[in-house]
């Protein structure tokens, strides 16, 4: 069943845009929405889906806007939430920045888009690039009247025909982001790697692509030599962009697709078996007296010597009432960021197999603050980038591009590992 209307509201709940699809929810309900959200927020029971006076509001907040879908029926909540996110992407694609002002500046086009992305409350088509082919931002430039591109209803709904490039290139970035949670006693509670194959394609025509990975399941089914198998990786839960033929993958693990034009995520995957933390951080607390506390932070890189982590940033939380924190570091620079209640330690280059130390001394007021005892310190957070490296060991074995015009496409592959939610709990 379907959505009744889409509202776009400012943070005060005033309607900026409102597209009514079914005529059973009045725009005045938008005002009730914001009151209800505020009430729930105060009582700490806010959720992204709320029901008020028989109407369901599904919403996401983005910059200074609320995108709200309203319904009276038992609609598919997951689908509509995703739709709102996709709608956000479409608007961002069109207006570069999506906020109150850009939306008011482009309300005509926004209404046109709302007409196209949803019909009678059913999500229809949300590929921004294809939409841009027939809903133009600058209507005056349009000399020929727009027609719906074939792609809108094609099986290949993400790519139009007739794309041309002088130089045919594909950029493939393998990005792995490491989520880590370490307890205050130093045990790894949880570690996982979220990987993504990010592609940017600049290809002519309707190219057929085939991607080869060192996929363990594939190697096993092909009966490769044990040596090969060692190099293979076991990826959990691969998820593909809609261009990938899932049935084909299910039957013989071939990743074949006609890519959209430009940037997209071809595939994501997850790795949750034990991953050794790449940068290990521990913090020793030495409380000398109320007026003097020392944090001794050790950061150790646990990857091979030939790799080097860059843009390393360690956020060390300090008590909010810390007085005059002074850091000393063996490498990099540390600065106090009072707005984050943290010491930010930055190390530009962090080679493998090294250990650096920071000592941070601070005092606390002699009179303890009232709520001092409540709550715990937030975790230490770490950011870094590790180029030319993947935790999983995933490798792109080949990327074949076949187009009927027979051109040679150049694939460029890069590997990088970054820190995701990398948290070390303080004691």
């Amino acid at each position: 069943m379907a959505t009744s209307a889409i509202f776009i509201l400012d943070l005060k709940g005033k309607v900026i845009l409102c597209r009514d699809y079914r005529g059973d929810v009045a725009p005045k309900n938008a005002e009730k929405f914001i009151t209800r959200v505020n009430e729930l927020e105060e009582s700490g029971r806010i959720t992204p889906i709320i029901n008020h006076e028989g109407i369901t509001y599904i919403y996401v907040q983005y910059s200074n806007l609320y995108l709200v879908a309203v319904a009276r029926e038992n609609i598919n909540a997951a689908s509509i939430l995703l739709f709102l996110h996709k709608l956000r992407e479409v608007f961002v694609h069109y207006f570069n920045e999506l906020e109150e002002e850009s939306l008011r500046d482009n309300f005509v086009i926004a209404y046109e888009l709302l007409d196209e992305v949803m019909d009678y409350g059913y999500p229809q088509f949300t590929e921004a690039q294809i939409l841009a082919e027939y809903i133009k931002t600058d209507a005056y430039k349009m000399e020929v009247q727009a027609r719906p591109p074939m792609a809108v209803t094609n099986a290949v709904s993400w790519r139009s025909e007739g794309i041309k490039y002088k130089k045919n290139e594909v950029f493939l970035d393998v990005v792995e982001s490491v989520n880590l949670l370490v307890n205050s006693n130093g045990t790894v509670v949880r570690s996982e790697v979220l990987g993504a194959l990010k592609m940017r394609t600049f290809l002519t025509g309707m190219p057929e692509c085939k991607l080869g990975l060192n996929d363990k399941v594939l190697f096993e089914s092909q009966g490769r030599s044990p040596q090969d198998k060692k190099k293979a990786v076991d990826l959990e839960d691969m998820k593909f962009h809609q261009c990938v033929r899932l049935t084909r993958f299910e039957s013989d693990r071939t990743i074949s697709f006609i890519p959209p034009d430009g940037a997209f995520d071809l595939m994501t995957y997850r790795l949750s078996h034990n991953v050794k933390p790449l940068i290990w951080v521990e913090c020793l607390v030495e409380k000398h007296s109320r007026s003097r506390t020392d944090y001794l932070v050790k950061a150790r890189s646990q990857f091979k010597d030939r790799s080097t982590a860059t843009q390393v940033e360690i956020l060390l939380p300090l008590p909010p009432d810390a007085i005059a924190p002074t850091p000393r570091t063996s490498q990099g620079t540390a600065t106090y960021a009072p707005e984050k209640d943290a010491m930010v330690w930055k190390i530009k280059n962090f080679p493998g197999g090294r250990e650096f130390v920071m000592r941070c001394r601070f005092a606390l007021p002699s009179v303890p603050a009232e709520e001092e005892s409540t709550g715990r310190m937030p975790p230490i957070r770490v950011n870094f980038e590790l180029p030319y490296f993947t935790v999983s060991g995933i490798q792109v074995r080949y990327l074949k591009v076949i187009e009927k015009s027979g051109y040679q496409a150049l694939p460029w592959v890069r590997y990088i590992t970054t820190a995701g939610e990398y948290e070390i709990r303080m004691s």
């Binding site: 069943m1 309607v15 900026i16 005529g23 059973d24 725009p27 806010i46 959720t47 992204p48 889906i49 029901n51 109407i55 996401v60 319904a71 009276r72 029926e73 038992n74 609609i75 598919n76 909540a77 997951a78 689908s79 939430l81 995703l82 739709f83 996110h85 008011r104 309300f107 005509v108 209404y111 046109e112 019909d119 009678y120 059913y122 088509f125 209507a139 027609r147 719906p148 809108v152 209803t153 099986a155 509670v189 949880r190 979220l194 839960d237 998820k239 809609q242 033929r245 899932l246 049935t247 993958f249 994501t268 997850r270 949750s272 005892s373 409540t374 709550g375 715990r376 948290e423 709990r425």
Partner: protein, 929 residues
């Protein structure tokens, strides 16, 4: 260029200004003006008076301008129905434009204009567009059929659009197929008619389209596949095989809907190896949902909660992924916590406890409290971990954080209830923290602990006394606990001080308080103590039943419904759809506008569609009597009452073969009249779906069993329908039905003990319900039921205003709780047949009948054919009707037979009136007043 300037002018006379500009010769000026009008409309100004001028701009080559005018039309056509017709010409013309974009736009917009006159003109363009060469136009037209159906279902029917829509399921274009699926599914659900039945042929087409259409289309198709009941295990396996690749889709909604389909089809699969493989396959995608945006994580977690409740094995090894991240929004954290409790086991409890302990020191107080409760719930459900849980709780109490301590004491009380006489050593630690208690629940828990273990706490009297000082100011929860605890203390240590205390407490509680509960409890204790202290001891200090963790338990029936609705709002709210769906369809208003509602009587293409009907449609469709709801929709501007009365019938037949059930009911009515027309004949008659209105059994004449129907005045009660099967009742099978007996409403109940031990102490209670029914006596007079035995009882039911659940309307559902000493409380639900409510006093003076009859809205009339009745034998069936408290009031001849007017009164539901129309076979009707 920026559009924001259109919002700016607010000076006087702007409407006039717009008007002038709209009439301007200059095209760009006109366009600017329309933009200004739309801007004004957006901020909520009424610009409807510009209607004719805006519509004048409609005929243009400028696509942008055209879209704006259309947008205006959608918003204001309703307020200016007569003027809206001005646009029709342009629409019709546009629907034949060479540009498919414009054709689609025209038909899309026309469908959104909810004006009767326009819809008539819509038909021809729609017909063309449904067969358009361009798939973009066809996919738009497919949705348009659903729009039109909502406004005017007869029109859709007459023009054969439904068939064209069904043809589109075989369209070569996947998006057209997907939209046709969405439209058909909607019509199917709102009309309650069997318009969309997936067959093995269409199934194949849907599965093929599934591979090719957009992500949204895939969701439509998967959601409809989830309603398909496979023929056999092989069929189900084939579907699963085709759907499984969807688990790899990047779109979370596709993944969740695929999980829904697989879970549904898996019900038929009995290959355990395959089941296991599927469980394994579903786990990683479910886990990956937690890497999505927080809002989507929330939906995913609510859904995972359901999946885990039914199939814990799927995620049994994944508890770690539900550990909270520091920056997770609070709503995500709360849901993760809930799932962690579900997945906690002896194997992982140490890790889980460590996490809970971490959370218990976080900043957000609500989250901290929930974490502490979580520890308590794990202790209650995992016996072997109880001690570890208690140790963690004790550590947390040492933090001296006020709310942590209070929450810990509340859960420790539960742990004591679960494991009596095992962990009392920790009471001393608890007693150290009495001062920090300021919340009623925590105080009450602590007082309970002191009272319960008074003999082991040396200074129990002192401790209680400190609480007693503030007795008058406490909340009733604390007061009640204080009274009980003091009595316990006195019984355990009958020394001087407790004696004084008890005097004081009971005096206050009986004389000073306004709270009847407190007063009653105090009186009870007082009398007990003064008449027989030994008996008091036995009563007050009796051994208590052990409790279990019910925090995440869900009724199996509800769980099944929610799993069917995975990924929908129902799965997020954890409530069945009918509890929150609030459709107010335009069509309902239309039905009221109709000049002559009688014309619609019996018209199968019902117009009035409401949420209740949709819900009924569900149950009716599920029950295999789909036509039923359709015939009622036609006559119900008061859909709730009628719809629900229908459900009365649905409930009654739900436990047998449904077709059989309703046929028998029908034939039992026939039996009433003819005595022996023969059931098989009746069945044939009713095989035509239209001829089988659900009204069939809402009288409950048949009582449910075929055999009784054929031996007409069925003196022997048929076996009672089972309302709680043994597997859900921990070995106890409960059957029951509400009926009428000797002028009273009686709940006939049978309790079959399938366990190895005797059961006793049966008691019953109802939840508040639509008819205000409650048992006159809570005890079920069956004594002890030996293993393997069945005991029956007739419980007299009263109707009391206090039991009336106004919110339920006339929902026939009756929620029943039955307890006994061995199993604790069991919950089940039953429904009330309308016939049980008909009173003996329903007969009325023939002279007062016509005005009363006319006073009832015609549209709330439902009818039923009586099998085998001819004008000649009316008198013969009269006594049988009377036996059911249905009284014949009038009969008159008509060309096709005779019209009868019987009447009946129902208790509690206001008055119900039964017209009786004996066209060829006799027709019986029921009107709620």
């Amino acid at each position: 260029m920026s559009d924001s300037k259109y919002f700016s002018t607010t000076k006087k006379g702007e409407i006039h200004e717009y008007k002038e500009d709209l009439r301007a010769v200059d095209r760009s000026k006109r366009k600017d003006s329309v933009k200004k009008v739309i801007a004004a409309m957006t901020v909520g100004k009424d610009v409807s008076m510009l209607f004719p001028d805006v519509v004048n701009c409609m005929q243009t080559d400028d696509l942008e301008l055209k879209k704006l005018v259309y947008l205006y039309l959608i918003n204001y056509a309703k307020t200016q129905p007569d003027l809206a017709i001005m646009g029709v010409n342009t629409f019709v013309k546009d629907s034949q434009d060479p540009n498919p974009l414009i054709r689609a736009l025209a038909v899309r917009t026309m469908g959104c204009i909810r004006v009767d006159k326009i819809t008539e003109y819509l038909c021809d363009p729609l017909q063309r567009c449904l067969k358009d060469d361009d798939p973009y136009v066809r996919k738009t037209a497919a949705v348009c059929v659903a729009k039109l159906f909502d406004i005017n279902p007869e029109l859709v029917e007459d023009r054969g659009f439904l068939d064209t829509l069904k043809d589109l399921l075989a369209d070569s274009n996947p998006m057209v197929v997907a939209n046709a699926v969405a439209a058909l599914a909607e019509i199917h659900e709102t009309s309650g008619r069997d318009v969309f039945q997936i067959t093995s042929q269409s199934l194949f087409k849907l599965l093929r389209a599934l591979n090719e259409c957009t992500e949204w289309g895939q969701v439509f198709i998967l959601d409809s596949l989830a309603t398909y009941t496979a023929k056999d295990a092989k069929d189900a396996e084939a579907i699963i095989e085709r759907v499984t690749p969807r688990l790899q889709h990047a779109n979370c909604a596709v993944v969740l809907s695929a999980v829904k389909v697989i879970l549904k089809q898996m019900e038929l699969v009995d290959d355990d190896v395959l089941k296991k493989t599927l469980h394994k396959k579903m786990a990683p995608p479910l886990v990956t949902l937690l890497s999505a945006e927080p809002e989507i994580q929330y939906v995913a977690l609510r859904n995972i909660h359901l999946v885990v409740s039914k199939f814990p094995q799927i995620l049994v090894h994944e508890v770690k992924v539900f550990f909270c991240k520091y920056n997770d929004p609070i709503y995500v954290k709360m849901e993760k916590l809930e799932i962690m409790i579900q997945l906690a086991s002896d194997k992982n409890i140490d890790q889980v406890l460590l996490e809970f302990k971490e959370y218990a020191t976080e900043v957000d107080v609500d989250f901290v409290r929930k974490a502490v409760r979580a520890i308590g719930r794990c202790a209650v459900s995992l016996e072997r971990a109880a001690e570890r849980c208690i140790n963690v709780l004790l550590e947390l109490i040492q933090t001296k954080l006020n709310y942590v301590v209070q929450e810990a004491i509340i859960v420790i009380k539960d742990i004591f209830r679960r494991y009596p006489n095992r962990y009392e050593s920790i009471i001393a630690t608890l007693c150290e923290n009495l001062e920090s208690l300021d919340e009623p629940e925590a105080k009450a828990s602590m007082i309970w602990i002191i009272g319960e273990y008074a003999e082991r706490i040396e200074n129990a009297d002192e401790l209680l006394e400190t609480f007693l000082e503030s007795f008058p100011e406490e909340t009733s929860l604390v007061q009640l606990q204080l009274v009980t605890a003091t009595v316990k203390l006195f019984l355990k240590k009958p020394t001087e001080r407790p004696q004084q205390m008890i005097q004081l407490v009971l005096t206050y509680a009986t004389q000073e308080t306004d709270n009847p509960d407190l007063r009653d409890r105090a009186f009870v204790y007082w009398r007990l103590l003064s008449t027989d202290p030994e008996a008091a001891k036995e009563v007050v200090l009796a051994e208590k039943p052990v409790i279990a963790d019910v925090g995440s338990g869900m009724e199996p029936q509800l769980l099944a419904t929610l799993l069917q609705n995975l990924s929908s709002l129902a799965s997020v709210y954890h409530k069945p759809p009918e509890t929150f769906v609030s459709r107010t369809r335009l069509a309902v208003q239309r039905a009221e506008d109709l000049p002559n509602p009688e014309d619609h009587f019996g018209d199968e293409s019902g117009t009035a569609i409401s949420s209740a009907d949709a819900a009924i449609a569900d149950s009716a469709a599920a029950a295999g009597a789909p036509a039923a709801a359709a015939s009622t929709t036609a006559l119900s501007p008061q859909p709730d009452l009628l719809g629900d009365l229908l459900d009365l019938g649905g409930g009654d037949t739900s436990n047998g073969n449904v077709h059989q059930g309703s046929h028998d009911l029908a034939s039992s009515l026939g039996g009433l009249s003819m005595g022996g027309t023969g059931g098989s004949n009746a069945s044939q008659q009713y095989n035509s779906p239209q001829a089988q209105p659900a009204a069939d059994d809402f009288f409950g004449f048949g009582g449910g069993s075929g055999s009784s129907a054929r031996t007409p005045p069925a003196p022997q009660a048929p076996p009672l329908p089972v309302i709680l099967p043994a597997d859900k009742g921990k070995g106890l099978t409960v059957s029951g039905r509400v009926t009428r007996q000797n002028g009273q409403i009686v709940y006939k109940i049978a309790l079959a003990n399938g366990t190895q031990a005797p059961m006793d102490g049966f008691m019953v209670q109802f939840n508040k319900n639509a008819f205000g029914l409650s048992p006159a006596n809570q005890n079920i007079p069956v004594g002890s039921v030996a293993p393997g035995q069945t005991a029956t009882a007739d419980l007299v039911l009263n109707q009391a205003a206090g039991m009336l659940n106004a919110a339920a309307g006339t929902t026939p559902t009756l929620q029943v709780a039955i307890r006994n000493n061995q199993q604790g409380v069991l919950y089940m639900s039953d429904s009330v047949p309308a016939s049980a409510l008909f009173t003996e006093g329903g007969n009325m003076d023939p002279s007062t009948f016509p005005p009363t009859w006319k006073g009832l809205p015609d549209a709330s009339e439902a009818s039923q054919h009586l099998q085998g009745v001819t004008p000649g034998n009316i008198e013969a069936i009269k006594p049988r009707l009377v036996a059911k408290n249905v009284f014949l009031m009038a009969a008159r001849g008509s060309p096709s037979g005779a019209i009868w007017r019987p009447t009946a009164r129902a208790q509690g539901v206001s008055e119900l009136k039964l017209p009786h129309d004996a066209n060829f076979e006799g027709l019986i009707g029921l009107r709620p007043q």
